[in-house]
């Protein structure tokens, strides 16, 4: 019996040009292994995928439009909700773009740069651990999920000690960082790094590296050859997994990455297993970077925000004692900073790949246009080229291995 309060189901009038022996199945948008709200329309011949259409937009929140109606500092917390697994990397991408627009990227104090790099690398570890957990869960390894989440929670504890939030940090501001590291934080960080290094070797790799099921599910699945990786504009591990030696931290160093000693892992394997090895290796490199940062932190001055009073509020003592600083601060809070007319595109290496912010400023406190180039968007597009030819069971592996996050794809 039709109930009065029920909505009548609405079916989109999709025209499927299908052969008689083909089957069209709908994968998502609510699917436990679709990593958010990915919808795939798969044409199957038996169990083999013939054609795949990714359908996105189920998490479109209109962030770029929101940015046009917000002052620059207001928009910063919104960037948290893009790649919500590694929030600080988005905060940083946006903050760096605005700093370049203002021309103050050299005035960011050294301690702020060190803390930012620490947060970025800690976020990279968190993101890769989350990737491993969900990917392993999709492929069927439950215990890796539990182990990886254990270490992830420890990293979140560190971030929580620093900025008070677990998921949406907003810990990197335009012009620096708001807080200094709490007492004993670096000691906890060093302990954590030892623990996670052991966990990678003894837990994740010991469980997965030689695991017969894991190898059967991942090896020679999701092969992205060099040509395909280039033509679909992949970045990050998707690109390095196809043999390109390209990492923005090395190619266009930002923050203090040029001073740090780390390697960029690259593989020619092109398949999901090769990418899995890269994720593990990148976590080791992040640990290496973080270990180098701890002594650097102690040798830096205590200033945390750039001293540019026309754009960024002056220190509190100055605001409380000097009339002009108070006026500037009042204008910055009520109206927002007014960057010079111009446009800027800044790309950073987020855990997923190249994260770029394009800002067009007309001299107003609001950006005239803000475009976000997110890596996951391009990695979703590649699915329509990548999936045909594989079995239906491999679809889950391939989606997992592309490491897409839908807050980022749809914005």
């Amino acid at each position: 019996m039709q109930q009065a309060n029920r909505l009548r189901p609405f079916f989109e009038n999709l025209a499927f040009d299908r052969q008689d022996n083909q089957m069209v199945i709908n994968f998502g948008p609510q699917h436990p292994s679709s990593h958010g709200q990915l919808r795939l329309i798969l044409h199957l011949d038996g169990e083999q995928v013939i054609k795949a259409n990714p359908d996105i937009g189920y998490l479109h929140r209109g962030m770029e439009k929101m940015a046009e109606n917000m002052i620059y500092n207001e928009f910063l917390p919104t960037t948290d909700r893009m790649d919500y697994i590694a929030s600080s990397s988005n905060n940083y991408g946006f903050a760096l773009a605005v700093e370049k627009l203002l021309g103050i990227e050299d005035k960011v104090p050294r301690r702020a740069k060190i803390i930012r790099t620490m947060l970025l690398e800690l976020n990279r570890i968190v993101s890769h651990e989350f990737w491993l957990a969900t990917h392993a869960l999709d492929v069927g390894a439950m215990s890796v999920f539990l182990y990886a989440f254990r270490e992830r929670e420890w990293a979140l504890d560190l971030i929580e000690d620093y900025c008070g939030a677990r998921l949406t940090h907003s810990a990197i501001r335009i012009g620096g960082v708001p807080l200094d590291l709490p007492e004993g934080w670096t000691g906890n960080l060093a302990n954590y790094l030892d623990k996670v290094e052991k966990a990678i070797k003894n837990d994740y790799e010991a469980l997965l590296d030689e695991n017969r099921i894991w190898k059967m599910r991942l090896e020679n699945v999701g092969i992205i050859d060099k040509e395909m990786a280039r033509s679909w504009a992949t970045s990050g591990i998707m690109l390095r997994g196809s043999g390109y030696h390209w990492d923005l931290r090395k190619e266009m160093p930002y923050e203090i990455y040029s001073e740090l000693d780390f390697d960029i892992p690259v593989t020619d394997k092109c398949d999901s297993y090769g990418r899995y090895k890269l994720y593990m290796e990148e976590m080791r490199q992040s640990i290496r970077i973080l270990r180098q940062l701890i002594p650097l932190y102690y040798s830096s001055d205590s200033q945390l925000m750039a001293n540019v009073p026309q754009y960024i509020s002056a220190p509190k003592e100055q605001i409380m004692t000097q009339n002009y600083s108070l006026m500037q601060h009042f204008v910055l809070v009520t109206q927002g900073m007014r960057p010079p007319v111009g446009e800027v595109y800044v790309a950073t290496e987020s855990p997923k790949g190249e994260l770029g912010f394009y800002i067009n400023s007309q001299g107003d406190p609001y950006p005239y246009r803000l475009k976000i180039r997110t890596p996951s968007f391009f990695h979703t597009g590649i699915l329509q080229d990548l999936l045909p030819g594989y079995q239906l069971a491999d679809v889950v592996t391939i989606i997992g291995s592309t490491n897409i996050v839908f807050g980022e794809v749809d914005r």
Binding site: Q30, H60, R81, I85, F149, E153, T168
Partner: protein, 169 residues
Amino acid sequence: MAQHQVKFGNGLPVALTTVDKIVNWGRSNSLWALTYGLACCGIEMMASGASRYDFDRFGTIFRASPRQAEVMVIAGTLTKKHAEFIRRLYDQMAEPKWVISMGSCANTGGMFNTYSIVQGADRVIPVDLYLPGCAPRPETLQYAVMMLQKKIRREPANRNRNIPQKRFI
């Protein structure tokens, strides 16, 4: 749970209770949740199912199918494009069913007051519990499940959605 205990001779002890109580006792302690991770809150929902915040203690196991689930945890931003599916999945769940709206986006639209966002999931499906926060911590979700258990225990067992319910919480 048992209201009266009567013992006959040397036989087994007999416990007397009401049907409502025993049914609700069973229901409230095995709340299987539908994995409905839409956005950021979905990550916290996963975290509450994982090692530290072990949700299995509450009898809450995440299920992938609406047919096997009793409580729908709407974790994240509900867009207008997705709203149709959430209603369809809600209708597919078997009675009795409950809904927890997790996070500001699902409650009211939160910070995303834009053209593409449903301003509150309760515009599409009835919601039992609202969870504030952006994103709420896993402890908050556990507290919400405990509140829901409390609510279930106070409801009549043969509850019918079509009869207006008295509000308990």
